[in-house]
């Protein structure tokens, strides 16, 4: 039982890291621009494709990573410049819808590209050796990927936190997220700040994309859609617009998902005599498979509940004021 719990715990943390990485990017952009960038998930997808093709070309892993992150950042910055900057100041919903349009362009652009080079829609991802297999810690075996996700996530998040708290640019970003007009009056060049938010968010999404791709084993142009929804939920749970909140939300969501998936296992794993045989049978009958597949729905119900009752997220934060 303890073994099972530990393994699931590690799973939760590693999934949480992925969600946190993606949620942070969303939160950074939302914090400053009040824009929910649904194309964020497609950045993740684009990164996976960059990585796949770099690896297919037998480039060394380091170079592939650089290309992947750099390419994704480029796409992110282009997205900001071409699609979002012209509509700054527009109502929130307009920006949200635009982000869907951008996503469509990225998805179909990738689809078109794969057609042109005559690859199928769904491509098997060439996972690097480093990320395959399992590591054993005594009796506990954990997929190497999970450890890497967890460690990478934590390192990147720590670096981000240092950046945001210790550097001038990071300070400017926090100021801009709190009060954009006042930040402008300080002499902060908000174009630069916004571009930085997009660049960092894209970079983090790229890493998440790679890890997702390895986990899924294959990539397709639509793989970014569900993750971005999850990332959004994570960000909202933690308190939308706050980076710390996004991190917390990511891990909470990871935990929630693993918990919901793991529940079916409980019926089998409970020690004999822990609950009466009737209850055990009951659990087995009603909780198998069904809960896992309803998992996504539950996650959205959680989102709606949070939006209704704790719109500022678990970490309570005041809504920011705006100068006109």
């Amino acid at each position: 039982m303890l073994l099972y719990v530990t393994q699931q715990f590690v799973n939760a943390l590693s999934l949480g890291s992925l969600y946190a990485l993606m949620a942070v990017g969303l939160a950074m952009v939302f914090g400053i621009l009040r824009l929910i960038n649904f194309a964020h998930g497609d950045l993740m997808m684009v990164a996976a494709y960059f990585a796949a093709f770099a690896l297919f070309a037998n480039l060394p892993l380091g170079l592939a990573l650089v290309l992947m992150i750099g390419g994704t950042m480029g796409v992110g910055l282009l997205m900001e410049r071409v699609a979002y900057r012209p509509i700054r100041g527009a109502p929130d919903v307009a920006a949200l819808l635009t982000s869907f349009a951008v996503g469509q362009i990225l998805q179909n652009g990738t689809l078109l590209f794969t057609r042109l080079i005559q690859k199928p829609i769904q491509i098997a991802f060439p996972s690097p050796e480093l990320l395959n297999g399992v590591i054993a810690f005594g009796p506990v075996t954990v997929p190497r990927l999970n450890i890497v996700s967890l460690v990478t996530g934590v390192i990147l998040l720590v670096l981000l936190s240092l950046f945001v708290t210790r550097t001038t640019l990071g300070l400017s970003m926090r100021a801009a997220a709190e009060d954009l007009s006042a930040a402008q009056l300080m002499g902060i060049d908000i174009n630069r700040v916004i571009a930085t938010a997009f660049a960092i968010g894209s970079g983090l999404a790229a890493v998440a994309g790679l890890l997702f791709a390895v986990q899924a084993g294959q990539i397709n142009p639509y793989m970014g859609f569900t993750p971005v929804l999850k990332a959004f939920i994570a960000a909202v749970i933690g308190g939308f617009g706050s980076i710390a909140g996004a991190v917390v939300g990511g891990y909470v969501l990871g935990g929630l998902e693993v918990f919901l998936t793991a529940i079916p296992g409980i019926g089998d794993i409970l020690p004999v005599g822990f609950v009466s045989p009737e209850v055990q049978a009951f659990l087995k009958q009603w909780l198998p498979a069904s809960l896992t597949s309803y998992r996504d729905a539950f996650v959205f119900v959680a989102l709606i509940l949070v939006l209704l009752f704790r719109p500022n997220g678990i970490l309570r934060r005041r809504e920011r004021e705006e100068m006109q």
């Binding site: 001038t168 300070l171 006042a182 009056l185 902060i188």
Partner: protein
């Protein structure tokens, strides 16, 4: 130093300013008085770049600045301390001050100026590590002014520094503003508290519903019966 010529500013389709022309000479303390909604804050925003005039020119030291983005206007030496303070509540006092100097590249100069701000407002030094949102109204006003000073501005735009302050604090703040003027900063002061403003100003303008209705030296305005009745009455 600063000139506005026939400035018109719109909020969407609503005209907020019409035919606004004013001037501030170097070293002067000029005040803009008028009741709520007269357009005083809008005027300052048109100068600092948060709003763009649809018609008219804003010139600073002979150079047109009405098409520049706010951060470039700050770089020219204009600092706007906005109405309602707008300090960054989730950042510390020290971080707020640091942000005031965000464009500067001289760490020694920045440190000097920070010390000067702490001298002016000792309570800020005490609270330098506290989150700005936990400060009282008066302290936040001091922080806002201090922050605006951190860029070593040549022209300081102050918007309603008296808002929400207790009388004792008011006197102190206005004292400080006078000190700044004496030290050589040019100041354009927007104020609802006309009495205090005219006490310390050299010249003034009166605004009503988006237009400038009166102009003159502080003495002239104080003596003006209309001004006395509308803005200085008890």
């Amino acid at each position: 130093m600063l000139e506005l010529h026939d400035v018109e500013v719109y909020y969407g389709s609503i005209r907020a300013l019409k035919d606004v022309s004013l001037a501030v000479a170097e070293g002067e303390l000029v005040t803009l008085i008028g009741s709520n909604g007269a357009g005083k804050s809008t005027t300052l925003k048109a100068i600092s770049g948060l709003l763009r005039p649809r018609v008219g020119r804003v010139q600073y030291r002979g150079q047109p600045i009405d098409r520049l983005p706010p951060h470039q206007i700050v770089a020219l030496g204009i600092s706007h301390c906005p109405e309602g303070r707008h300090i960054f509540g989730r950042l510390t006092v020290a971080e707020n001050l640091r942000l005031g100097a965000v464009q500067r590249r001289d760490p020694d100069g920045i440190r000097q100026d920070r010390e000067r701000v702490y001298e002016l407002f000792p309570v800020l030094k005490e609270r330098s590590r506290q989150l700005a949102g936990t400060l009282s109204g008066g302290e936040q006003q001091m922080l806002a002014i201090g922050r605006a000073l951190m860029s070593r501005p040549k022209l300081l735009l102050l918007d309603e520094p008296s808002l929400g302050l207790a009388p004792l604090l008011l006197a102190a703040i206005f004292d400080t503003i006078q000190q700044l003027k004496r030290a050589g900063t040019t100041i354009l002061l927007v104020e609802q508290n006309a009495r205090l403003a005219l006490e310390i100003a050299d010249r003034g303008y009166v605004m009503e519903t988006g237009r400038i209705t009166l102009a003159g030296t502080a003495a002239e305005l104080k003596a003006n019966p209309q001004v006395e009745h509308t803005y200085l009455g008890t």
